[in-house]
Symmetry: C2
C-alpha cells in the first residue's frame, strides 16, 4: 500500500492501464505541443478541463478548484478528470505546464545570462532570479500543487531544474558534490519558503534576491558581483 503504485506498475484491472498521467517531457523542451496520441474527444475534454480549472481559479481562487467542480464546469464526469490528470496535483501541474516549459526553454536555449553563452555563475544567478519572480507570480498555484512530501522532488520539471543547476555548478566546482549543492540552492527557491518569507514575514523581494546572489557566491566560493 502506501503511496499506492504511482506510475503504473500495479494496475491489475482490465480498463487497460494506459498511461494514466501526463508524462510531461523531461528535458524535451517546449517542442511537442500536446499529448502524443489522444483520441479526439479526449483531447477536447482535456482542453475544456484546463480552461474550466483556470476559470475557477480566477473566480474562486485555487481553493475553488475542486475536482468535481472542474468536471461539472467542463461538462464532463469526475472520472474523466482523474483519468486525464491522475489526481489533483496532476491537474494543478498541468496548469503550470506553460510557465514551466517557458522557464525550461529559457535556461536551455534562451538568451544569456539565463541561456547558454554566459559564465556559469551568471547563469546560476539569473536562474534563481527568474525562479523567484515566477514563484511570486504563481505562488498560490505552486503551493497548491505542492503536496505529498514524498513526491516533491520526483516531478520531472524539478528533476530537470536540479540537473541543470548541478551541471552549472559542476562547471564552476568540478570537485564538489554538486548534486547536493544543487539541492541546497533549489531549496532556497522553494515556493513554500518564498511564501513564508514574503507573505508571512513580510520580507521584500529585493532582500530575497540579494539573498540569492549572496548564497550563490558563498556556495560557489566566488566573489559577489560588483
Amino acid at each position: 500500500m502506501l503511496y499506492a503504485g504511482f506510475m503504473s506498475a500495479t494496475l491489475p484491472p482490465f480498463p487497460k492501464p494506459q498511461e494514466p498521467f501526463e508524462a510531461p517531457q523531461l528535458l524535451e523542451v517546449g517542442s511537442a505541443p500536446e499529448e502524443p496520441c489522444l483520441r479526439a474527444d479526449a483531447a477536447r475534454n482535456r482542453a475544456r478541463l484546463l480552461e474550466a480549472a483556470a476559470r475557477l481559479i480566477a473566480e474562486h481562487g485555487v481553493a475553488g478548484v475542486t475536482m468535481e467542480a472542474v468536471a461539472t464546469a467542463a461538462g464532463v464526469g469526475k472520472g474523466t478528470v482523474f483519468r486525464r490528470f491522475g489526481d489533483r496535483t496532476g491537474l494543478l501541474m498541468a496548469l503550470l505546464d506553460h510557465s514551466t516549459h517557458k522557464l525550461q526553454a529559457d535556461f536551455l536555449g534562451g538568451p544569456p545570462p539565463l541561456g547558454p553563452g554566459a559564465p556559469p555563475v551568471d547563469r546560476l544567478r539569473a536562474l534563481g532570479v527568474a525562479m523567484l519572480y515566477r514563484s511570486v507570480e504563481q505562488l498560490d498555484l505552486l503551493l497548491a500543487a505542492q503536496t505529498e512530501p514524498t513526491r516533491r522532488f520526483s516531478h520531472p520539471s524539478l528533476r530537470a531544474l536540479h540537473t541543470h543547476a548541478a551541471m552549472l555548478l559542476r562547471q564552476i566546482l568540478p570537485d564538489a558534490d554538486c548534486e547536493l549543492l544543487a539541492h541546497t540552492l533549489l531549496a532556497y527557491l522553494d515556493p513554500a519558503l518564498v511564501h513564508h518569507l514574503t507573505r508571512q514575514c513580510g520580507v521584500p523581494m529585493e532582500r530575497l534576491e540579494a539573498g540569492w546572489v549572496d548564497l550563490v557566491a558563498r556556495v560557489t566560493r566566488t566573489e559577489p558581483p560588483r
Copy 2:
C-alpha cells in the same frame, strides 16, 4: 476562506474557542511537563490518544493512523481527537514532541559541541548531524507530519530551530543576512529532502553528512575541518 483562521481569530460559535491546539512551548525548554491547565479527564484522554496512536503506528505504519482509528483505539469519540490536537498534523506533531524537546534541550543547554561552549561553527555542524540522524530515525512520522506547505515554517519547533541557527550564524558572520542563510541551511535538513536522497536516490548517510559539513563551510566561508 483559504487556510481558514489557523489560530483562533475567527471562531464565532458558542462552544467557547478555548485554546484549540497544542500551543507547544516556544523556547521554553523541556521543563513544563504537560499542558498547563487541562481538566483531569481531558489529560487522561490525551494520554490515551497518544498511546493509541503510537500503537497504531507500530502496528500498521503511519498510514494506519486514522483519526477515527485513533479515537476508537483510545475509546473516545472522534471529536475529542480534533479538539485536543486540532488536526491530524497536530496529532503527529504531538507524537514528535518528545524528540523535539530533547533536541531543543540538547542544543540549548546540553554538552558541547551541540550545546553552548563550543565554537559556533562546530555547534552548527553538530546541529546538522543531530538533525540528520533524528530525521532518518523518524522519517515516516516527520514526513507524515509535514503537510500543508503554508504551515511548514510556522511551527514553533521549526521557528526555534531557525532562530538558533540564525544566532549561531550571526556569531560567525555578523554582517550577513543570517535569517536567510539559516533558512538555506535548514532546508538541507528537510525530512522530505532526506527521504528523497536516502530512500529514492540511495544516497548513503555518510555522503549526506559530508555534504552538510561542506555546506556549512561554504556558507560561513570558513575552511572545512581537517
